[in-house]
């Protein structure tokens, strides 16, 4: 009974973590950018979906769509207002650009977080789920929404896989993550590829954010922990490796669920953090990292 409960809850959480971390790792893999405004964009999507339903009287589908669109816009804004100016700046030495992107996106994330707090308060918000009710799986009463979350996450990740491996655009993205100079030599404009990647990222972060809002609820306080968990999942899996982050998301998700059920919810995040430290000691490049 408890085993099934852990299995099911852990799966839903892990799938959500995986979806949240995939976009993050994709951007790093292709353009070397660690976007520390990630948590803020996810929360923004959830809050937009919530506001669409409760303030603009949209139905749940329209609200969810609004959330994803807002995340997409926010992702483009992050790229054009923060990341691109830093990458093109002549005053910042090349070897320090990484650090400036980190600082810049961090500040950008705080700005988004503060605006959310200002306009929509710090209170926790739960987005109305698209499917309601509960059902019985192996004797465990599970909210249908939880199953919906897991299914959507797996579907979207599957679609992303197909997009990257089966379409021409996707292959260009993949190539850019392996050898940016080679891609330019083949006559592909690198900036266009970056724009595609940021668009994919925006949609992924948006869907993850809205699902998170339906499943667990968000507040502007969840921004930091969300960024930190995406960051740790991605590093655990190996920076830039999408399959690595998928595995890492499930490891972290199940570890947290196990701890919460078997030990105490108060200790929830500690084992995952310790695991991360151990992995950094033994295998700094992460589970499937290339470097």
């Amino acid at each position: 009974m408890l085993a099934f409960q852990i299995l099911i809850d852990g799966f839903a959480i892990s799938a959500l973590y995986a979806l949240g971390a995939t976009g993050f790792t994709l951007i790093f893999g292709v353009s070397g950018v660690l976007n520390l405004s990630h948590g803020a964009i996810m929360v923004l999507a959830a809050v937009a979906a919530w506001a669409g339903a409760s303030m603009l009287h949209m139905n749940t589908y329209e609200g969810a769509l609004l959330g994803v669109v807002v995340a997409l816009v926010a992702a483009f804004a992050t790229y054009f207002a923060v990341v691109q100016p830093i990458q093109r700046s002549r005053r910042i030495p090349n070897e320090e650009k990484e650090i400036f992107v980190l600082t810049g996106t961090l500040l950008w994330g705080i700005m988004i977080q503060e605006l959310i707090a200002y306009f929509f308060t710090n209170n926790a918000k739960t987005v109305l789920p698209i499917v309601e009710g509960v059902m019985d799986i192996f004797g465990v009463r599970t909210p249908r929404n939880e199953i919906f979350t897991a299914v959507v996450c797996c579907l979207v990740i599957g679609l992303l896989w197909a997009l990257v491996n089966r379409t021409r655009t996707g292959k260009a993205v993949l190539a850019a993550s392996m050898n940016p100079r080679g891609v330019t030599l083949l006559g592909l404009e690198l900036t266009n590829i970056y724009i595609v990647v940021w668009a994919i990222y925006g949609i992924l972060a948006g869907i993850a954010g809205v699902l998170l809002g339906m499943f667990l609820g968000v507040s502007s306080y969840s921004v930091g922990p969300l960024t930190a968990s995406a960051f740790s999942i991605v590093v655990l899996g190996g920076l830039g490796s999408v399959s690595g982050s998928l595995i890492a998301a499930f490891v972290v998700g199940y570890l947290e669920t196990l701890t919460a059920y078997l030990v105490s919810p108060a200790y929830r995040t500690i084992p995952a953090l310790l695991l991360l430290v151990i992995v950094m000691y033994i295998r700094p490049q992460g589970l499937l990292g290339r470097r």
């Binding site: 830093i86 400036f100 705080i110 590093v235 953090l273 991360l276």
Partner: protein, 308 residues
């Protein structure tokens, strides 16, 4: 070093410190209290800049070192009633040990991995403080029975003196041969290593020095506040403020970091009437500085002087 005493920067700093030390004679206790906190914060930022600006390592967890120093000092005073000064010294030592333990594995990895290790250290510390609430006061915070003094002017002078001495030591270190080696190993570790310098040893030393000043400042701050809480000395948001202060003031300048910290705290106070938008405005200003004046306040000022 000898050039420094002839430079304009030295005279300006000297005049600023002299003027600042006369402040308790004619400004209110409220402003003194604000500046006292700002000075301790300035030391946090300077200690961080030694690692980032010179050793080229982004430490996302300055509050790990600060928090260990602050909580060690606070807990020792609370549990055993040892004298304030002994507790402060032991707090700084605990921070050095914590910095050493953190740096050994963390320095094996580079760039973002190093940043993450330090960030995780903060999260673990935060979790442990909450879990061992009986000892640490948990989320409510730790009440500390003793304070250094309750006189606002004396507290202010202690903070100013501490910041000035720290600034002299850290700045001196950054301009010394050791600082140059650090800078070289931050910019091109392979070449610096090829020239025969032990990079790991230098970076470890930088980490330990940074930890010492962070911990000492954290411990002093705790005895000024009379309380230690996650929100004031450990939270990631506090660490972000330290980083923003150092980048705003100008990286690789040490003194700029203190300037940035004072600006950040004073500006936050001026923006208090705007309520919840204060943090937004400060972050927006910091982002604009990062985008358009990547050298920061002091960096911009120094490069102008160099050109003229």
């Amino acid at each position: 070093m000898a050039d420094f005493f002839k430079s304009r920067l030295f005279w300006i700093s000297l005049i600023v410190v002299v003027i600042a030390s006369t402040l308790p004679l004619y400004v209110s206790g409220y402003i003194l209290g604000l500046l006292t906190v700002a000075y301790y914060f300035g030391v946090f930022a300077m200690a961080w800049d030694l690692l980032f600006g010179f050793a080229g390592e982004v430490n996302f967890g300055p509050t790990f070192l600060i928090g260990v120093g602050a909580y060690t000092a606070g807990i020792l005073n609370n549990e055993y009633g040892w004298s304030v000064y002994l507790c402060i010294v032991l707090g700084a030592l605990a921070a050095v040990i914590a910095g050493f333990v953190l740096a050994l594995p963390a320095l094996r990895v580079r760039g973002p991995y190093f940043g993450l290790t330090t960030l995780v250290a903060v999260l673990i510390l935060q979790n442990f403080i909450v879990v061992f609430a009986e000892l640490t006061g948990g989320e409510i915070g730790l009440t500390i029975p003793d304070v250094i003094t309750i006189n606002a002017g004396v507290n202010y002078w202690i903070a100013l003196g501490f910041m000035t001495i720290s600034a002299i030591i850290l700045y001196g270190l950054s301009q010394s041969p050791v600082g140059l080696v650090l800078q070289a190993s931050g910019q091109d570790p392979v070449q610096a290593g090829a020239l025969g310098f032990n990079i790991v040893k230098h970076k470890l030393a930088a980490f330990v020095v940074s930890a010492f000043f962070s911990g000492l400042s954290g411990a002093l701050l705790v005895f000024y506040f009379g309380t230690a809480s996650v929100g004031t000395v450990v939270d990631v948001a506090v660490g972000v403020n330290v980083i923003v202060a150092a980048v705003l003031g100008g990286r690789r300048t040490v003194l700029g970091a203190a300037l940035g910290a004072i600006f950040l705290i004073v500006a936050g106070e001026f923006l208090r009437p705007t309520g919840e938008l204060a943090t937004f405005i400060v972050s927006a200003v910091a982002l604009l500085v990062v985008l358009f004046f990547p050298g920061g306040f002091l960096g911009a000022a120094l490069s102008r002087e160099a050109r003229s």
